[in-house]
């Protein structure tokens, strides 16, 4: 078991290195990966921003950035799916199959190398955010924890899309397939609008949605949530400030723990599922 894990990591690293070389040789993809989060930041901040009030006197742009972070890393998983689907069509996969390498290595390599996309896009977004009025108000350690949580969640989620990538017949299908999964997850969440503005059933979904949890955790760690302790809500309300109703769902009270639970569940389900599907596809 330990030996298998070690081989999986070692072979995965070799495959990841191959993917990184490709990123370097075909940097066009990277440009698009980095452009889209900037687009989203600007779109939401300046187009919808005026119409959405996060409440508690918080600036919408400050509220928004953590949501965009989560949305972007979730969307980033699409690249993993597309990359996987593309790999399966290429001649090189026959070579991989005929080698005595770990059967999970192609998946491990793909998901690991795609972390690069996420690290870069989070970095670009953070810069964009800081320019338009986002601020990190928490401690340094909290901020690092927030980034780590985002990347951890994105890594886990990339296994979901890797699995989808193995199921689809060609990389072209991936964008539509992922859209079906990712759109409801990111939009029925607190990523772009405060959670107390959803109607009843959607609010329940949003509260327990892992995307909300990761967003909430990031906001908490970056210090982007309204601090209403010791403030007279009535006075604020009199000043015309909307007071958000805090969610009492456990997931929203303990967003870091709840996010980590999701990371574990996703990995526990989708790693074995994907490896099995890889073997099956490989032996067809």
């Amino acid at each position: 078991m330990m030996k298998r894990l070690a081989y999986s990591v070692a072979d995965g690293a070799v495959v990841a290195k191959r993917n990184v070389i490709k990123i370097k040789r075909v940097p066009d993809v990277l440009v698009w990966v980095l452009m889209s989060p900037i687009m989203f930041v600007l779109l939401f901040a300046y187009v919808f921003g005026g119409a959405i009030d996060p409440g508690g006197g918080i600036n919408y742009r400050e509220f928004l950035i953590a949501g965009i972070f989560t949305q972007t890393v979730v969307f980033g998983a699409t690249f993993t799916g597309a990359g996987m689907a593309e790999d399966m069509q290429k001649g090189i996969i026959d070579r991989f199959r005929s080698l005595p390498m770990s059967r999970s290595a192609v998946l491990v390599g793909r998901t690991v190398s795609d972390v690069i996309y996420n690290v870069l896009s989070v970095a670009i977004m953070a810069l964009t955010g800081l320019i338009i009025g986002w601020a990190i108000r928490g401690t340094f350690v909290d901020a690092v924890t927030a980034f780590a949580l985002l990347l951890l969640f994105s890594y886990a989620f990339s296994w979901v899309m890797a699995y989808v990538g193995l199921l689809v017949p060609s990389p072209d299908v991936i964008n539509n397939a992922s859209f079906m999964v990712i759109m409801p997850l990111t939009f029925v969440s607190n990523a772009f609008v405060p959670i107390d503005t959803f109607p009843g059933p959607l609010q329940r979904f949003a509260e327990w949605n892992p995307v909300s949890a990761v967003t909430q955790a990031s906001r908490q760690l970056f210090g982007n949530l309204p601090d209403l302790t010791g403030v007279d809500a009535a006075v604020l309300q009199a000043q015309g400030v909307r007071i958000p109703t805090p969610s009492d769902a456990w997931s929203m009270q303990h967003p870091v723990a709840y996010s980590l639970i999701w990371v574990v569940i996703i990995l526990a389900v989708f790693v074995p599922l994907s490896v099995r599907q890889y073997k099956r596809t490989a032996r067809r």
């Binding site: 070799v14 070579r95 005929s98 005595p100």
Partner: protein, 326 residues
């Protein structure tokens, strides 16, 4: 030690309702070359994919290097090298990076992977191109790199699936030279091809395969003998010449003379080789038959194939797709 490096019994594989393999038996003794010869869709690629553990057979058994492919596929992979008709190399990596990666995945270690990569590039005439991305390679260079990839771990058994399909004549001859050198080095090789000439040149033993089944087996010479000896082909200038030429050749022929009126050509099985050819030409000349073309032909494996299957081993319109159903 088991002397048969590849041994397969009754391999069966279906793709839906298509029976790609229909009880194929194979045996390849150590240090020999077996050619699986057949047209597209005959089941050659399917056979190779099963023997190299890329595909599971529906029925039958096989052992490669003495290891059962069904129960121990991973150990089989440690002992084999595969080079397919679709060059299994990464386009974006350089030739060197491709070979180094394969070495690492065979777990040769960093040092050995690197030195082996350089050594193979040198050997396959890719030293100059070694640090260029494969995207820039010609078809022949890709195939050579792919073959080099199959040799990284110095496998006991090598599988080459249509190594020259799609190559230009120059690329084909180069590839043959490379393969012949491997054979001289004592590699056990299973090779699939739809080119009779290729099987003739490279293989010790040939299995002719059609519709997933072996329909003949033997050395190139034995197979040729099976369809008979040499013959004379004559093409005449006008239709009017045909009957006279037919009569003359019939006197000399060892069997029935075939007349193709459309092409104005005649084929006569003969014995006696060049002597008979000269005699035939003298008589044709004396009878004032205007001959456009004449030749003494030894049987090719195409003739063998035609005789065995009733159809030519011509590549189908779909050059390569037939065997690979995904």
């Amino acid at each position: 030690m088991n002397d048969e490096v590849i041994r397969a019994r009754g391999l069966v594989k279906h793709y839906g309702s298509i029976r790609a393999l229909d009880g194929l038996d194979l045996a390849v003794p150590r240090g020999t070359v077996l050619a699986l010869l057949g047209p597209n869709g005959a089941g050659k690629t399917t056979a190779v994919r099963i023997l190299t553990t890329l595909l599971e057979a529906d029925a039958g058994s096989a052992a490669v290097a003495g290891i059962d492919i069904r129960t121990n596929p991973k150990r089989v992979r440690e002992r084999i090298g595969l080079s397919g008709q679709y060059a299994a190399v990464d386009e974006y990596l350089t030739g060197y990076e491709n070979l180094d990666m394969i070495g690492r995945l065979y777990r040769l270690g960093r040092q050995r992977s690197r030195s082996r990569a350089r050594e193979l590039l040198e050997r396959f005439g890719l030293r100059e191109a070694g640090d260029r991305p494969v995207r820039t390679y010609s078809g022949g260079m890709r195939r050579r790199l792919d073959l080099a990839g199959a040799l990284v771990a110095q496998p006991d058994v090598l599988f080459l699936d249509e190594p020259t399909t799609g190559l230009d004549p120059r690329g084909r001859t180069d590839m043959w030279d490379v393969i012949r050198e491997l054979i001289r080095g004592g590699t056990t090789l299973l090779l699939t091809t739809q080119y009779m000439e290729e099987a003739d040149r490279l293989a010790d033993n040939i299995v002719v395969i059609d519709c997933g089944r072996a329909i003949a087996e033997g050395t190139a010479d034995a197979l040729k003998t099976q369809v008979g000896g040499e013959r004379i082909d004559v093409t005449v200038e006008t239709m009017a010449d045909l009957p006279r030429a037919d009569a003359i050749l019939a006197e000399l022929a060892a069997g029935e003379v075939l007349v193709n009126e459309h092409a104005r050509s005649l084929t006569a099985p003969v014995s006696g080789g060049a002597i008979t050819l000269i005699r035939a030409l003298r008589r044709l000349d004396a009878a004032e038959v205007r001959v456009l073309d004449v030749g003494l032909r030894r049987p090719t494996l195409d003739d063998v194939f035609l005789a065995l299957t009733g159809h030519f081993a011509e590549p189908a319109a779909d050059e390569t797709g037939g065997d690979r159903l995904q």
